[in-house]
């Protein structure tokens, strides 16, 4: 009987940290396995049977390019796509696995009911338009309109280019941001070492190998359909135990580089100055825009509108994430409930979700509601379901958790005004 001897070593010879949601049979290193296989065999099998390495989500990519046949089919006479893809277009290939009911252990980012409550958000919202007397929230305004023809997702009908940049919306797909081949450092062809572990969970790569980019995001030089990135992938770390969930106590802990990375396509949005007057308002973001002491104090004391009794140790709010200002994943902790420290910075994802949300501009909350209990989607809106309302704030009851007087979550940093 064969047994795998890869990565995390139960005997302490850690090539990488054990990831509960990680690799199958990742138990003991080769060296130890040779000596101890007969002793450990029963234990290993038991562990496997108990589902100690259960994750369906972390196996396919393994931090880099997955099995080729997962996306490509060498002999597919019915193929309508180029590059022998298993679907009509790149995003549809991704959604072959990443569409479906949401859940804490689900890889879905495109549910049929808004249940994919992932940090990036649910592309479901791109299919939902809400209307109410005096207002609307069109589907196409809810996020990145990736084209996935097999799943009924079309290009943005309103914009021809990415806001603040020139990325053609007619080419927007999952691989506009995510490198389907999971290259890090330009890939081995460019001299990078082999990817051995995911870059999304803080795993340490084995000697002589490297970790992938966070969420397989494209790095410097990544080019999809002729558009080339100038900024590296961000540093961030998700909780491997809950890799597709988000709460105040289990969330992506962002390190650095997110805003710059967004600027690969939205360069004009990356600025250190408020643009007021004749121009639009652009919030400053990026590594150079570290939070001031006043902002940090506000964040850490703010509990809700009118309540500034919080403390730094428990200040983290899933709706207002921030970067902790480090480029070392080991210094990040997805279960850290503390607020920002001295190096913390604002990022695009402080206010927006990367994929989509229930709100305009993929906001983490409804930017147009004076009081968040008045957010849309709301019951009574045209096109809304009770599930939409429930899922819009990740199944948190705003009135219960924050009070009927809760104003915009901008207050988490700018808490000067009481309700």
């Amino acid at each position: 009987m064969f047994l795998s001897c890869r990565r995390p070593c139960l005997l302490g010879c850690f090539k990488s940290k054990f990831r509960p949601g990680g690799e199958h049979l990742s138990t003991i290193c080769r060296g130890h396995a040779t000596l101890t296989r007969s002793i450990l065999i029963t234990a290993l099998l038991l562990l496997c049977q108990l589902g100690s390495a259960p994750a369906a989500y972390s196996l396919f990519h393994s931090g880099g390019v997955g099995s080729c046949s997962g996306c490509h089919l060498s002999h597919n006479p019915s193929a309508s796509a180029s590059r022998l893809l298993r679907a009509a277009d790149a995003s549809s290939v991704c959604l072959n696995c990443h569409a479906g009911p949401g859940g804490a252990a689900s890889v879905s980012v495109f549910s049929f009911d808004g249940s994919a409550l992932t940090p990036g958000g649910d592309f479901y919202w791109l299919t939902r338009s809400f209307n109410w007397p005096g207002g609307s929230s069109p589907a196409a305004r809810h996020g990145h309109n990736v084209i996935a023809r097999d799943f009924g997702l079309d290009a943005d009908p309103n914009k021809s280019q990415g806001p603040g940049g020139s990325y053609p919306s007619g080419q927007l797909s999952c691989i506009s941001c995510h490198d389907p081949h999971g290259r890090s450092g330009g890939g081995t062809r460019a001299g990078a070492v082999a990817v051995s572990v995911s870059g999304s969970y803080g795993d340490d790569p084995a000697a002589g190998s490297g970790r992938g980019n966070y969420r397989l995001l494209g790095g410097v030089g990544y080019s999809a359909k002729g558009y080339t990135f100038n900024y590296p992938a961000p540093i961030a770390r998700q909780n491997p135990a809950l890799p597709f969930a988000e709460s105040d106590s289990s969330h992506v802990d962002y390190g650095s580089g997110m805003s710059e990375w967004c600027a690969n396509c939205h360069a004009a949005m990356l600025t250190n100055k408020h643009q007021v007057g004749g121009g639009g308002f652009t919030h400053p973001v990026g590594a150079n825009e570290t939070l001031s002491g006043e902002i940090i104090a506000n964040y850490n004391s703010y509990v809700k509108s009118g309540d500034l009794s919080g403390s730094a140790a428990t200040a983290y709010l899933q709706f207002v994430p921030f970067e902790r200002g480090t480029s070392f994943p080991a210094l990040l902790d997805p279960t850290d409930t503390s607020g920002p420290g001295g190096n913390a910075a604002l990022s695009c994802l402080t206010c927006h979700r990367a994929h989509a949300s229930a709100f305009r501009s993929a906001g983490r909350w409804d930017f147009s509601a004076a009081l968040l209990v008045d957010s849309h989607p709301a019951l009574g809106d045209s096109g809304v379901t009770a599930g939409d309302v429930n899922n819009s704030y990740y199944r948190r009851n705003i009135a219960h958790d924050f009070g009927a007087g809760q104003r915009q979550f901008c207050e988490k940093c700018h808490a000067a005004v009481s309700p």
């Binding site: 199958h24 390019v65 089919l73 002999h75 006479p77 082999a194």
Partner: protein, 379 residues
């Protein structure tokens, strides 16, 4: 008298040492009673065959491991064509994320009917993928001409066969070599493509150098899969091989050169269209280890094995996992430890062990990703 016996004995030993003792087919039809029995006996097969069906007749000699045998009891054969063991119902299971899965032997290769050896035809397919050759009754003689005729045989006006077409032998004047592995050629009814040009290291098929025509020959039955462009949804064959083949040694290792680039797990055709004898000795690394040039072509067997393999679609490697070293066999399977899923030159390799980085004989490293990357570097 003693002197004569001594000479005869020496000659017999000499013949054995040169392998002549294995030359049952001799490139063409062998002695008839190897397969047929004139007067019944245990015979139960058609045409007075010694097996109950054609494949069973072949396996009377070719069942087992090593040498010229192609169907082991434990997956331990290491020949280029692969081991029919994997196409049998061995009850193999493995564990994925806590769930026990069953290895589908119907997808591991060409499922032959060989009733005497417990082998059955493909339970999933009724016809050859990309063609119309019926799966029911498929046997060794679906591909191999049991009578080893070449160019229609002598009855069709062809020259007599004097040597095998599999090992680079040159036929005597007035004769011809058989087809490579006594495969059918275009004289076979229903076949439009001739047998390929290739050269094996010996009857054990431990290593092979491919010349030309393999993909076209496969297309005799799988014509729908033959394409020279990818526009129809097919990976192209008979196309020039990407030159990255020469530099790619393993994931993250691009130190290869054309002089040492040939990887038996990603074989290519060298463009030789004349005869087996014009191909390098497959065991001579100095010539057989050379990488690709402008004449080299990708072929069906660049990815697949002809008989069967431990992996789906008779592929040379497990395409269902990110890392080559994490094939299904490593996932708590009940495959015997003596099985050999990966091998080169007839020798088992540990794909996780990069060795000295010699593509001709060595593995790759623990984090080696799919060997598609040998041509399509994306790792």
């Amino acid at each position: 008298m003693k002197k004569t016996i001594s000479i005869a004995t020496a000659m017999m030993f000499s013949l054995c040492l040169t392998g002549a003792a294995f030359a049952f087919h001799d490139g063409g039809v062998a002695h008839c009673d190897g397969c047929h029995s004139m007067h019944g006996g245990a015979t139960s097969g058609p045409a007075l065959q010694k097996g109950s069906d054609a494949s069973s007749t072949c396996l009377n000699c070719h069942n087992g491991a090593n040498g010229y045998k192609v169907s082991s009891a434990d997956g331990s054969n290491k020949n280029e064509g692969g081991d029919f063991h994997w196409t049998k119902d061995n009850g193999y299971t493995y564990v994925v994320r806590g769930n026990t899965k069953t290895f589908d032997y119907n997808k591991a290769g060409h499922n032959m009917l060989a009733a005497d050896f417990g082998m059955t035809n493909d339970a999933n397919l009724t016809m050859a993928p990309g063609g119309s050759f019926p799966a029911a009754g498929f046997s060794c003689t679906g591909c191999h001409d049991p009578h080893g005729q070449a160019n229609g045989g002598t009855v069709g006006g062809a020259l007599p066969i004097s040597v095998s077409g599999s090992y680079g032998a040159v036929p005597a004047p007035g004769t011809q070599a058989g087809n490579y592995r006594i495969l059918y050629d275009s004289a076979k009814i229903g076949f439009s493509e001739d047998a390929p040009i290739a050269r094996a290291s010996g009857s054990n098929g431990a290593s092979v150098q491919y010349g030309s025509g393999m993909s076209g020959w496969c297309a005799n039955c799988h014509v729908g899969f033959y394409a020279t462009t990818s526009s129809g949804g097919m990976h192209p064959v008979d196309r020039a091989v990407q030159t990255t083949y020469n530099s790619y040694v393993a994931t993250g290792n691009f130190t290869g050169t054309i002089a040492n680039a040939y990887d038996p797990l990603v074989p290519i055709e060298r463009g030789v269209t004349t005869a087996s004898s014009d191909l390098p000795d497959p065991t001579d690394q100095a010539t057989a280890g050379v990488g690709v040039d402008g004449s080299s072509k990708v072929m069906c067997l660049s990815c697949h094995r002809a008989h069967g393999s431990a992996f789906g679609n008779a592929l040379r490697g497990d395409m269902s996992e990110a890392f080559l070293a994490e094939s299904w066999i490593t996932l708590g399977s009940n495959v015997p430890a003596t099985a050999v899923p990966y091998y080169k030159q007839g020798v088992k390799i540990d794909v996780a062990d990069a060795g000295s980085g010699n593509p001709f004989t060595d593995g790759y490293g623990e984090y080696q990703r799919s060997l598609c990357n040998k041509c399509h570097v994306q790792d």
